[in-house]
Every structure is written in C-alpha cells, then in structure tokens.
C-alpha cells in the first residue's frame, strides 16, 4: 500500500502535511512521534474517517483498532455480537458463530467469551476483542493507533506478541502507531518518525534506531525510559 502526498486539514490547521509512506505487504510499519504530531490524523485518513487530499493506493479494506479499549466496544453488545459485526458475507447463524469462534481463537481468547459483555473483560482482553472484530472483515491493512498505551505493562507484552503473530501467521500488513520508540522498535519492520505533521525520517527499523539521521529521532531515542539509568547522576 502506498500513501502519497497525504494532507489532512482541520480548518486552517494542517495536521498532516504531504506525507508519503509505503507499507509493504505483510509488513508492519511503525509510526512514532509525540502527541499532536499528526499520527492519529494520518491513521484516521487512511481508515477513511476524516477527509484528506492526496492518494492512498492499494488498500481497499482498512480496519482500525483504537487506543482506548474501554471506548471502542459497545457496552451493551456481547463480545460475540461485536465481533460478528465485521463478519462478511451471508452466513447463517451457525456459520457466523463458527466464524466468531475462529476469530476469537486467532487472538487467543476462549470461545466462551462470546457471551460476555465488555465490562466483564480486562483491558487486554478487550483490546484482543477489538482486534478480532477488525480481522473479521479480512482487512488488507490494519491500523493500530496506540493500542497498548491504555494497557498495563503486564498485558502490553501479550498484545505486542499478538501483533507480531498476526503478521507472521496471517501475513497481515499493519500501520502501528505509538509514541514509545521501544514498543515500535519491537514490532515494526520499518519505522517512520513523524514531527509536526511531516515524516522526518523513515527506514528499516535497525537503521532508524541504530543510526538515526534526524535530530528529532535522536531526541526520541534518548527519551525512552530505561530501567537502569539516566536521571540519577
């Protein structure tokens, strides 16, 4: 999929400024930058949720997973009904049921969760349900906007593992957005750094993290919280 010259404006304010970015099939492109840098606006444009100018080629079915798993599931729908919303084609009841079970299985959730309501689930489980719902539409691009930042560290690892297994096992292409470079580094094949609406640096993960070319990338690298260090000297 190729994004070319994409611009998103809100009134006179330009949130995304002529961004060009390629997401190769079966790859995860990580998008990192501070809040307000335009990451979410880019994600929403790619997902068709906000108007834009420019071209988006090669992605017909884009699905998005949102940051807040407490807001992205209808509190009055069972998990099964939410996931079934994305199931395409005219299936009968039993077919739907089986498909929901399969999708829950893909995100490592037990099938009996289908009858539960979101309030009975933990944040990590909800985020898996949101991913399962998106997968039901068989997307050719999945956009994940800060999907671990509302989660506890103890479940973040499991969701990141899920993201990687979706790529490895389903060949899913993904735009993975986060403000945490360590998280982006872990899941992405390609990293793009966004600053004030523009992509200031993009390249293979090892290269961007190992030999950052832009000052802003270096600032981001330096700011990654580290267990041992930094602020005590």
């Amino acid at each position: 999929m190729i994004i070319e010259d994409l611009t998103v404006r809100f009134g006179a304010f330009t949130a995304v400024d002529r961004v060009t970015l390629e997401i190769p099939p079966g790859r995860i492109v990580g998008l990192v930058g501070e809040s307000g840098s335009g990451k979410s606006s880019l994600a929403r444009a790619v997902s068709g949720l906000v108007p834009y100018t420019g071209r988006i080629d090669g992605a017909h079915n884009v699905q998005m997973v949102f940051q807040d798993p407490y807001a992205s599931l209808d509190p009055r729908m069972t998990v099964g009904d939410s996931v079934a919303e994305g199931v395409r084609g005219r299936r009968d009841r039993a077919g739907r049921r089986a498909e929901v079970d399969r999708l829950l299985g893909l995100v490592s959730l037990p099938a009996d969760l289908a009858g539960r309501y979101p309030r009975e689930l933990s944040g990590g489980q909800r985020q898996r349900v949101a991913v399962a719902r998106a997968l039901g539409a068989a997307p050719d691009l999945l956009v994940a906007d800060e999907i671990t930042s509302a989660l506890d560290v103890s479940v973040q690892g499991a969701v990141l593992n899920l993201v990687r297994s979706l790529r490895d096992e389903l060949g899913l292409s993904m735009l993975f957005i986060s403000h945490n470079l360590a998280v982006v580094r872990y899941v992405s094949d390609v990293v793009a750094v966004m600053h004030q609406g523009r992509v200031v640096e993009a390249g293979p993960t090892g290269q961007v993290v190992g030999e950052p070319a832009h000052d802003y990338t270096r600032a981001l690298l330096e700011a990654v919280p580290r267990l041992t260090g930094g602020l005590r000297e």
């Binding site: 884009v62 580094r185 990654v224 005590r232």
Partner: protein, 603 residues
Amino acid sequence: MKPRLPRTPAAVAGAALVAAMVVLAVIGPPIWGATAERIDAAAILQGTSTAHPLGTDSLGRDLLARVLVAGRFSLALALAATLIGGLAGIVLGALPSVLPGRAARLITGAVNALVAFPGLLLAMFTAVVSGLGARGAVLGIGVAIAPGFARLTQTLAATVAGSDYVSAARMLGVSRRRVLTGHVLPNIAEPLILQLTQSLGGALLGLAGMSFLGLGVQPPSFDWGRLLFDGFARIYVTPEVALGPAAAIALAGIGFNLLGDAMAKAAARTAPAGKKRTAAVPPDPGEPDPGAVLEVRGLSVAFPGGATPVRELSLTIAPGEIVGLVGESGSGKSLTAAAIGGLVPYPGTVGYGRLLLGGRDVATLSGKELGTALAMVFQDPMASLNPALRVGGQLAEVAIVHQGAGRAEANRRAVDRLGHVHLPDPAATARQHPHELSGGMRQRAVIAMGLMATPRLIIADEPTTALDVTVQRQILRLLREVTEETGAAALFISHDIAVVGGLCDRVMVMYAGRVVEELPVARLAAEAAHPYTRALIASLPDMDTDRDRPLASIPGRQPAPSDVGPGCAFADRCALATARCAAERPPLISYGEAGRVACWEVK
C-alpha cells in the same frame, strides 16, 4: 447490574406516592364511580359535611368521590401526553443521524427553534387549533414536551455516534440503520426512560393547568384540572371544594418528580453507599524512625462491603530520597497516596499503626500545615488547576493562604517558582490561563505550585502518564532536581517500571493492595526476586530487547480488592506457585541488601 433505587426518604416517598396513584387509578372508578355520578338536588353546592367531606358540586354530586374517580382519567391523559411527546421527540431527535445532511440540518434547526419557544404557549396554541377537549389538551402537552425530548435524544445520539465503537462499525461496513438500532438506540434508552418518568409529573401538572384554563377536559368528563376549575369559582365561599383536586394534583406531580429524580440518581451513581466500617487496627508498629520524612506502618484503606484495596502497607522515605511505587492499575497505588494526603474519598476508611509526616501524625496536622508540608502532583494537572483563574494568581494564592504573604510578595514568588521549574517565560506564563498551556507546561506549573511552600514530601501520582516520552523525561528531570535542591522526599507512583527504575532510588512493587517487593533501584534489573517483579521487567520491551523472541507476558488478571483470598494474591498467575501459595500468604521479609520480598519460593 441494574442500578437500584437508593433508600432515601425522597425516593421512598416518590415510589409510595406513585404506587398510591396507580392503585387509585385501578380501583377508583369501580368503587366510587356510582357515587361520583349520583345527582342529589337536595345537596347542591354544599361545603364540608359528614356526608360530603369535600362538599358537593352544582348538581349535588359528592366531590371526594369525584376526586378519587378522576385519578384514572388524569393519569391516563398524562401518560398519553408523555408518550406522544416522548415518541415524537425521540423520532425527531434520532432522524438527523440517519437522514442526509440537508434534511438533518433542517430538523436540527427546527428543534432548536422549538426548544427556545415557551412550552405553555406551544401547548395552548396546539390545543386551541386542534379543538377544545381532552384530545386537544393531550396533543398540546405532547407537543410542548416533544422539543425537549428531541434535543436530549440528539445530544445523546451525537455522543454515541462519535464513539470509537460506532467508528469501528462504520469501517466494517455496518449500515446506518443497523448502527442506529444496534448501537445508538440501546445506548440512549436508559436516560430517555428516566426522562419519560420525570416528564409524567410535568405532563400531569400541565394537563391540570390546561383544564383549569378551560382548554382541557369538557363536561360531562372530568379530571382533576376540571374539578379544580369548577371548585375555583367558589373559592371565597367554600374553599374546601378546591382543596381535594389541588392536593391530588400536587401529590401526583411531586410523586413522579421524586421518583424520576431518584431513578436518575440511581443510574448515575457508581459507588454503592453503605454503613461505615473501620479498617482493622494493625499490630504495634515499634519505635518511630526520627530521620524519616514519611513513615507509614500498617496502612489499610477499606470500603464498605469488604473491599480492602490497601493492606498493611509500610514504607519509609528519607530526606532527598525518591521512592517509586509501581504496580498495575488497581493495585492500590493512588489510594495509598490519597491516604497519606488525607484524600481518601467517602465512604472509604483509613487505618494505620503509624502515619508520620515530618515526625507528626498526619491526623494531628491542620489543613494549613499539611498543605505546606506536602505537595501533590496528579496525572491530570487540571485536577490541581482552576481553569477560570490565571496561573500566577493561583500560585500566589498558596503563599497568601498558607504563609500569610502579601499580594505583591506572593506574585513575585509565583513568577520566581514558575521560572524555577524551567518555564521559558515565567512572567508571561503567570498571566496565562491553564488552557493556554501544553500538558507538560501545566504539569510544571503544578510542581511550581507545590514549591510555593517548602514541602517536606512531594507525592507524584502518575504525573507523566499522559505526556509524551520527550516531555516525560523533562518532567522526571525536574522532579529529580527539585528533590536534590530542597531536600524534599518524594513518592513517585507509576505503572511503568522502566520510568520508576530510571528515576527513583528505591522501588516498592505493589500487587493487589500489598507491597510484594522492595529493593534499591540498582538491584532492580538484575536482582529482583519476586516472580511478579521479574515478570513486569521481562514483559517490558526496551531498546535492547531481542526482536526475534516473544515478549514475556503475565497471564490472567489481578484479583479485585474484594476477591483477594487467604493465600498469595499472585498465585493464579505465577509460574512458581505451589499448593502452599494458594493457602497461605507469604509474609514480607527482609531479603538481600536493603530489600524485602513476600514470596514462598524466594530462598
């Protein structure tokens, strides 16, 4: 879980009144119907007597019986008017979310105009146009109620329509109609039903008013309003004849309003109220530590119903030291901070063996002393800043109230403190309102506010969680700098063990309300002993994590405070758990250099 009606006097009275009205509507006509219609030429226009407690009307009919019989008709009319108004309003309010843009705007505009129009005029106009009588009155009141319902429906629907789950449904190709029936309507039903109940009382009063104005029910039919209309003509001669219908109208109106209010409150309420309970008094805490800024022994926070989110927590902080409190959400970190600052929300209760700030029991400190000795920084800086006031003024207020400083001196100090936290143009910032600052600048301003006094302790509860990593780093630096300069101690709370590890001197790990491990930060990465601490560290990706291997993760979830069993709270998720772990809780014992750990498997 259905919200339950609270047992307040108002709720009970409302429910009782409404129940009485319903009973009256059912049994009134069959019992008193004949009496109410019996014409008695010998008893025309009488006042109170034993035979006729409320007097008689111009045909000698008993007014008490007529009031009791009119209940059914009055309530039925009110119900009809409410249903008409509610239905029309909900349809009008929901239409814009399914119609194309132009039509939607037209309807929205019309509703807005109608909402601004006086309801009574609308009702009278409709009633006159559609003909005098019960039908006209019901239509009139219905029309008067409708715009309010339309507006409420619109607002509620717009909130739901803007939610992430509706965005997700749209991306999945779910049709507009399915979005409306599947997402929007179910999520707005509850507030609308509440509004319907409250409207019933209003409709009842409105209809009585219409009848009273002669625009409503016409003879020979009668409702309470009509009876009041007839009785009112005789108010100077026999006032008691107006009393019955007036009381009936008032009681019914009050009943529906009270019940509606109580239902709305029950729906909005989250924490159940209950009887007060004090946390168990912990064992003797031993001798106090004279060098500590903060010394906590055996701190518990409990809520009615048996939930104890903080249990027997002990911690000590020395001057200039930053202690990190880390754990997943719900582990009790914020309540610990709240307990130290005396901010535990009602109906929580705090118990402790010792809680000394600067050597004095916090319970004996005045609000002023506590405010001077303790600075609190929260995740949301707006929790500490008043959006209506200039930043400088708010800071100056602290010096004026707590230190008795003069206005000019306080202002000067405010600008000085704002500069101290590295705000680039402190004088300009002082003149700004909080909303003009970025999240990071606001958090600096809050820290500056804490520095207006000379705090002995700074408690920072997730102060950087809402900030970017770059800004986070600046705020962490600032905290470090401030404690080094002023010698203040700090309790730094975070769910992110990397942040805690990067900033603090000592780390305490909390799980399900208890401290499970404590150790100097230098030993955190390599020597953490508790399985939970180790799992937290392993599940965290950093810049050196092997990208070809899956991250560690912790299966399952932390038990809720009311579900903590007798054993180790981590047992369900622990790879090392044995039978003993589930049955018996491991005590927090000394381990390694300056460390403590609570785990049976750590030897």
